[in-house]
Amino acid sequence: MSGGANPNGAGAAGGGQPHGSAPAAPSAVNPAELQSVLSEVLSLRGATAAAFVTVDGELLASRSHDRALLEQTVSMITSALAAGTALGELFGAAAAPEGELGEAATPAGSFMQITLVFGDGPVLLTLLPGGAHVMVLALDSEGDLGRARLALKGRLGALAGVASRRETGNLMG
């Protein structure tokens, strides 16, 4: 695990322990609910790791069959989000008519989805409705991308609902 996503408080990828004993935040989500949602996402064929993060890269919860893979994924989340935000700003600036940048322009970092393809398999970062949270999903191979994107697309609202109820816990499977 490294520097990117902030593991503090929310549970590091390497922590390996459910976070149920931690002091609950005022609006803490039911850990079982988070675990259930992440498990469901992880049950998707080809999914190898799943995590909720904020758009700032703070890790809220994660789950994986493979601890090393999860740590590797978590370590690059912040960089990936920063790159996506920077590209989103560039794209927004290029797409907006001159003089209309501002409220009417695409908000900074308003990417909808980022796909990173590595030798170990692609990683999908999907912005959840509300723009505050990102679902991170690592996949086995590029052949799983279509299925994963479709599955996430139909569940964005539900995922956002869970993520927005201030979450804690690292749920290693």
Binding site: E40, S43, L44, G143, L145, G146, R147, R149, L150, A151, G154
Partner: protein, 130 residues
């Protein structure tokens, strides 16, 4: 999660000469397929992963092109694309704005049955995804 593979498996089994049934998305990515790579009867082995990825991308291009001026001239969107050769062919049908279902069949397939079964599968897919 919706198990699209069950619907595709039913479609594949119901069609004589079907080598593969699949769902693709209009961004060019293959979503699901049946049978999996290397499965199916030896006489009609399913195409490999890379091959079917290319097919899905090509069908996406075809449907996108046909959704333009051709559809405009017809007054309604082209929802079905049939490509036939001596050894078989493909039939692709839009499920909705984002997805399409397609089958690859060999020369023994009956086109009428293929059209009917694919249409039924598309209805089932719409229901499953609703």
């Amino acid at each position: 999660m919706v198990n699209l593979e069950d619907i595709l498996a039913r479609l594949s089994r119901s069609l004589v000469g079907c080598r593969v049934a699949a769902v693709g998305s209009m961004d060019g990515l293959l979503v699901e397929r049946h049978p999996a790579v290397g499965e199916g009867p030896a006489a009609q082995q399913a195409p490999g992963a890379a091959e079917l990825d290319h097919v899905a991308a090509d069908i996406t291009s075809g449907l996108s092109l046909l959704a333009g001026e051709v559809s405009a001239q017809l007054g309604s969107r082209i929802d079905e694309l049939i490509a036939l050769g001596e050894n078989g062919g493909y039939l692709a049908r839009r499920v909705d704005d984002d997805l399409f279902c397609f089958v690859m069949v060999n020369a023994t397939a009956d086109l009428g049955s293929v059209r009917r079964e694919v249409e039924a599968a598309c209805r089932a897919l719409r229901g499953a995804l609703a």
